[in-house]
Subunit: 257 residues, 2 copies
């Protein structure tokens, strides 16, 4: 079997995103020359049987792409310490600007996987939307090629748009998960198991794969059923949760004509 | 093939819940003697090829169960007009008390399907949690039997607990769908298609089938990343949406130790 690409990658980072994107590269036979992270590189390197270093000065200098998957806060410091110049440097963050690399290289970009990653929760990476941005055409072509191997869903999205996509993701994922948690609190307080909620949670998600959210609204706020809404508000003790109920009900009612 | 039960049912109502539970009964060869609704009974009756009436005075008097799937607001009036006494009367609402029937019968109960129903969006009814409540043991046995035929998931839940379950469902379904809508607004405003959100929405739901919500939290509020949170708040124009972001982030941060 011929390889899908000759691109050589050094992976920088060892968190959830690094693990998932690294695994996707290994699974797709992309040549990951080395993994760097100050403390935990050996764990991932051992799992995947590839070289690693915990020391920036020992970074492999022959990669075609240096792929960063580190905390947003760490970029500035790590880029300043980066030992090479004019290498192709790429990050994976929703919120970090593409320009973070411009002081140290003339070829840089972003490969943002728009998905929620939990360590050891394997998911089909070829379904993850990959958002590509680059500082020039040559780098963009390189990143598109890489994205195309890793996933069936690629988008070219600039830093401004990417920030809004990330914000949308906070609503669709982080906040949605928080609502699952609030629902869990309510059911468990009454002695019911969380699992009773799962068919409803699954169906709610499934429906928006078939119709837009505004087409499948159900519940008291859509019906502007003030009797139930007020009853529910009286049933909630926590002020913040009560306010969430109030606010989202108002938003739903305003959108329902 | 022998029938699973000899129970005869009259279905009262023609909305989403009536359609879904009626269809489940027909599919399971339960004998639906008649469907009543003041205006639209003929539609469902035609679809299922069963008798119907738009007139309460023509209600079939020989059913074992009169199954109500009508609007919460309509119960009081319809129960008062019900032409028979001491029939087994059962409703399907999350919020209506079991006692709504007590003036006109000595056998009554609830069969609450804990799911979101949209007309013509077919779903596997045998996965829908059915919550049973009854005023006496005999009625409970009858309803358990019916529930057992319709679904693999039955629970015996009293009116008080059912109201809280319904409230939990508002968070897990109605409000979650509203968040999907807010995420859609944000992406569409930047020219992106809603479909880019679907892998994230699906994975967020899938994860809580494997782990509890508190175990799979991701995002800026968990990391208490105030820089991103403040950036996001500045990106949102609508005051209510801004407040939703603030409140849910605070709730997440408080729960994360």
């Amino acid at each position: 079997m011929t390889k899908k690409t000759n691109l050589k990658v050094v992976l920088i980072g060892s968190g959830n995103v690094a693990w998932h994107i690294g695994k996707a590269m290994i699974d797709n036979e992309i040549d990951v020359l080395q993994i760097y992270s100050p403390q935990h590189a050996f764990k991932l390197a051992t799992e995947w049987n590839i070289p690693y270093t915990h020391d920036l000065s020992a970074l492999n200098d022959s990669a075609d792409v240096y792929l960063f998957a580190i905390k947003d806060d760490s970029y500035q410091k790590l880029v300043a310490q980066f030992p090479f110049r004019n290498k192709c440097m790429v990050h994976t963050s929703g919120s970090v600007d593409i320009d973070v690399f411009q002081e140290v290289t003339n070829s840089y970009g972003v490969l943002y996987p728009f998905q929620t990653f939990t360590k050891n929760v394997v998911l089909p990476f070829d379904q993850v939307p990959l958002c590509v941005e680059a500082n020039d055409e040559k780098t963009e072509e390189k990143l598109k090629k890489l994205a195309h191997i890793l996933s069936r869903k690629q988008y070219v999205i600039d830093s401004h748009t990417r920030r809004y996509l990330h914000l949308a993701g906070v609503f669709a994922c982080n906040f949605t998960n928080a609502l699952y948690g609030l629902a869990k609190d309510i059911t468990e307080e009454k002695g019911l198991d969380f699992s009773i909620l799962l068919p409803l949670i699954n169906e709610t998600a499934r429906k928006v794969n078939l119709s837009f959210p505004e087409e499948v609204r159900t519940g008291p706020a859509v019906r502007k059923d003030m009797k139930i809404i007020e009853k529910h508000l009286r049933m909630l003790d926590d002020e913040k949760v009560k306010n969430v109920y109030k606010l989202i009900s108002e938003i739903i009612a305003e959108k329902t004509t």
